[in-house]
Symmetry: C2
Subunit: 589 residues, 2 copies
């Protein structure tokens, strides 16, 4: 019997004891994080599926894992030889796990969840869906702690550190003042880790790739940080004290909420705050979008200037790495993993580097079609001067977070079909980059600009077109994004100062993956007050992949202008050999 | 003192007596109709504003009218010399009347509404918004009946009639079977008038331009129509009896709901069913989108074939009218109103004509910029062979409802600026017509295709790009539409068989209005399973308004193909002089 089978068995034993017929294990944590600390990887522990999005459901005679198109191939591999069956969320009409429950359970049955790993909104919507069938929800059932005991990792103890003042615009006091101005409530409860890191200008390493730390923050007459005190150095303690921020133990948040009293109102984002934490609030709750999330999404002018500098450094690192690849691929054994390491190493030589912003996706040939592929040292494919390579990587710098994808022809044998798809993706990427739109436009309205040329050819891609990006923070930063379908992200208004990825793609299973990704900043056109984009990512797009006759004059002009800017901004930091290489890549079409 | 002032005074007297500090009067009726019978024109009666969308609010020291960009000019005129102040809803961020209430009322104050004129969803959302401020909502307050007594019109008594079988595809029995199949509830309550007309293949004339009749329909083990019995001819009675539909008096619906019992579940669309009617339901309510609305939106193949025939007739009528205008405008006094009448008269000569589908908008020069302008005999502008004319009109035929807008150059003096804007509008209209998109795409995703070229030039229009259209039914038919921003319409999925308008525009106040509108049908591309559009409206687009050098080859090809089809399909029904005229209009560019 495999480990996974044993784990499911012991969970089912608990379920039977407490008369719970189905138990839901999401991929989240008490802070609604996308990437979570190891202790909270319950969904992976129970199911073996390691993707960042997906929900496991264990019923008495069924174990299922729900995930979206990005993870189908990965999930099929990882769920093989486990009791878990893959439920494919093809689109918004696919059967969700709540729909599955309504179909397979009967009235009076009870479903269990650990309400700390679900937001208030999630619990309410699950409850409402199940009610239709007369199914009950018990939201305070933490079975995972009972069945995952011996080998469960502790919460991380790594120290937190101060975001260097050279790269900061607003002080803690500025940010706390903004938070107070933007709510009518007496206190604001922040529980999203990146909201807290932003508000306090502090960073940590509790979660891989996201420089955040596990904590709660209560902002009001007093501002208090709830955190494992052992993580606070003398320097950080002094820094917080100077900003009038007191500190308490992480778990004390529950006591504090109980003590605030009936009269004290609390601003809470019901899409972030965990259901179980909210149960401890006694005063009136003002339900509103996290002001920290909205404020943080709009980068200040100074932050945008820093980000532009980080992009130059990133381009220098990429130039080094791509030249190295080009020069050595024919003669040396270089795997996808080696190239990922090379990119990270080149970035690490840049000033104010902190680490990778996510695990690099280096997908050669068919591996490129696995949207969230991650090469591992033992299994990574070896590159050769042939076929198509997709490289999606990013860095955390104190002056900005980067995220760039380039798809290159490794040799002269790339098929016309792949070049055709690449050119359609490129046309879409240029269309979104070139868009002008009035204030108030939602990200979801713009998404189609990137897809229209693929759609005309009957092609598409199974992921969003773009996500918000943090400032030395999470590479996936809500609220905004370019996505299809009704969602909080697609319904978010685009605002001046936002940094968002623009990354259409096309994937042919077992053959190749294509994606072109720049980060773009939203700017205001002074002439007419409309909003527009500008790419802040600076790196050439491979002309060997383009079918030039499919490009309009406007699109060719866009490419020439972009490449001229890339060369002008990056070449001063290169030696003459590298400069020659970049000049060739950036020459007018 | 004006009438309006007196009416507001008597309403305030009632409000004072019952301790209601603000009273909301929407432009709706108990069936959530867009256009309502005269008896229910309370919002117009109290405020003098006649637009089809807008809400009046009377507080003790403020009277306000909230409406959107389409009606600003009209509302300013109509509200002059009344106590009403115009609240402009520029976009989704403008202060709504509930936000105004939260700002200006205090905790403990009570707001009143007549819950028959608000849907369940509307009442719940108003209640929720007011609760934040501790303001109470009383939803059963019908003050209008008390203050509008003597001169209030009765409900219409016009007979209803049978939609001719030649133009029908599905029988009553077919439709009732579909309704039953699509719900788990014991009964379905239909209260939208067009849903009822569709289900029973009956039409009426209780509402101007919409061939509907006032009724409720309860579908289940028995199917019962609640209607003023005097409206039923012997023929209609026999028709209903044959289809096993019983009839009861209109107001008996309340008694029936009370009698259905605790065990009988009822399918109710909370966005349509009035709050007050729902108060009479005793059994479990299954809240779901009206299945009649969803079924009716998807036209059958046979219906689409009929619609294509109706479009040919409509084009013949328009050809007659536009030739008449061209030949006579220089020598005869022709007003906007005269041209509207001419269009209606030409349509009335076509087979199976029933009436206009909405009051024609014939807007000459600056009048064209008033989006919902309607010429009146006394005030209509006189046309001359100069400037720009916008003509938006439509007909009700037994075999289809039409809605077409053309904008033409009346002379050779049209400014380059107007031609430039026209060409951008045209490019957008062609882009939306030419779109391909996968199943599951929402109307709100496609909207930008029609706006993108205007936006690039810093221009826009203040209305949706398109609305669903009924089959010998309402010219504005939910659910689908091409609109920006999060709404039920923009979140509706486009489906094969839907008929939707494609009508981008551009308006320059006091100068000209431009709009180009075709109805399009959604089809499936058999080659790749993607969806696409085809214009079913057939009438030339004025080349004198185009700046040809701004059109791409694809756009020119689209125009040539469209015009060739218009000529091929319409010319067989024209005499040789008319044929020559159309041939010239439809010649390749």
């Amino acid at each position: 019997m495999t480990n996974i089978t044993k784990r499911v068995q012991s969970l089912r034993a608990k379920m039977e004891k407490y008369n719970i017929v189905a138990y839901i294990i999401p991929s989240s944590d008490p802070h609604q994080s996308e990437y979570v600390a190891e202790r909270w990887l319950s969904r992976t522990w129970i199911s073996n599926f390691t993707g960042s999005a997906g929900t496991a459901l264990v019923a008495m005679d069924h174990a299922g894992l729900w995930t979206d198109t990005r993870y189908f191939l990965q999930a099929e591999t990882e769920l093989a030889h486990t009791p878990f069956e893959l439920h494919k969320m093809e689109n918004q009409f696919s059967e969700s796990y709540t729909q599955w429950l309504c179909k397979n359970l009967k009235a009076g049955d009870t479903v269990g969840i650990d309400g700390y790993n679900f937001s208030i909104n999630q619990v309410e919507s699950i409850e409402k869906a199940l009610q239709k069938k007369g199914i009950l929800l018990k939201a305070n059932v933490d079975f995972i702690s009972q069945v995952w005991e011996d080998d469960r990792p502790a919460l991380p103890k790594d120290p937190i550190f101060i975001h260097e003042s050279d790269y900061l615009d607003l002080s803690i006091q500025d940010k706390i003042a903004q938070l107070k101005e933007n709510t009518t409530a007496n206190y604001t409860l922040l529980s999203a880790l990146d909201d807290i890191a932003w508000a306090l200008n502090l960073r940590g390493s509790d979660v891989d790739f996201n420089p955040v730390f596990i904590a709660y923050l209560l902002v009001g007459d007093e501002t208090t940080l709830y955190i494992d005190q052992s993580k606070l150095s003398t320097e950080v303690k002094g820094y917080l004290k100077k900003a009038n921020v007191t500190t308490k133990e992480y778990s004390d948040i529950i006591k504090t909420l109980g003590k605030l009293g009936n009269e004290t109102s609390l601003s809470v984002d019901p899409s972030i705050c965990s259901y179980s934490l909210a149960q401890h609030i006694v005063g009136p709750i003002v339900r509103e979008t996290s002001q920290a999330r909205l404020l943080k999404a709009v980068k200040t002018d100074k932050e945008v200037r820093h980000i532009r500098q980080a992009m130059v450094k990133d381009a220098v690192a990429l130039t080094h790495a791509f030249i190295w690849l080009e020069e050595n691929v024919a003669t040396t054994q270089i795997t996808e993993y080696d190239f990922a390491m090379k990119l990270a190493q080149q970035r690490s030589e840049q000033k104010a580097y902190y680490g990778e912003s996510f695990p690099a996706i280096i997908g050669y040939r068919g591996n490129g079609a696995i949207i969230h592929y991650r090469p591992h040292p033992e299994t990574a494919a070896t590159l050769s001067p042939s076929g198509v390579l997709l490289a999606d990587s990013g860095g955390q710098y104190q002056d900005g977070t980067t995220d760039i994808t380039r798809t290159i022809a490794m040799g002269d044998d790339v098929s016309d079909e792949a070049k055709y798809a690449f050119t359609l993706v490129l046309k879409g990427m240029i269309a979104l980059d070139s868009a002008k739109f009035p204030e108030g436009t939602l990200g979801g309205q713009l998404d189609i600009l990137a897809r229209q040329h693929l759609w005309s050819a009957g092609l598409n891609y199974g992921h969003g077109t773009g996500h918000g990006v943090g400032y030395f923070l999470n590479v996936h930063e809500p609220p905004q994004g370019f996505t299809a379908g009704p969602s909080t992200r697609s319904n978010s208004v685009m605002k001046v100062g936002m940094i968002t990825s623009n990354e259409p793609g096309y994937y042919k299973a077992d053959a190749y993956g294509i994606r072109i990704e720049n980060l773009i900043v939203t700017l205001k056109d002074k002439a007419d007050g409309f909003l527009k984009h500008e790419s802040v990512t600076l790196f050439p797009i491979d002309r060997k992949m383009m079918q030039l006759d499919l490009l309009t004059q406007d699109e060719r002009d866009w490419l020439d202008t972009y490449h001229a800017r890339v060369f002008a901004e990056v070449s001063p930091y290169l030696d003459s050999k590298q400069k020659d290489w970049l000049e060739k890549q950036c020459a007018a079409l």
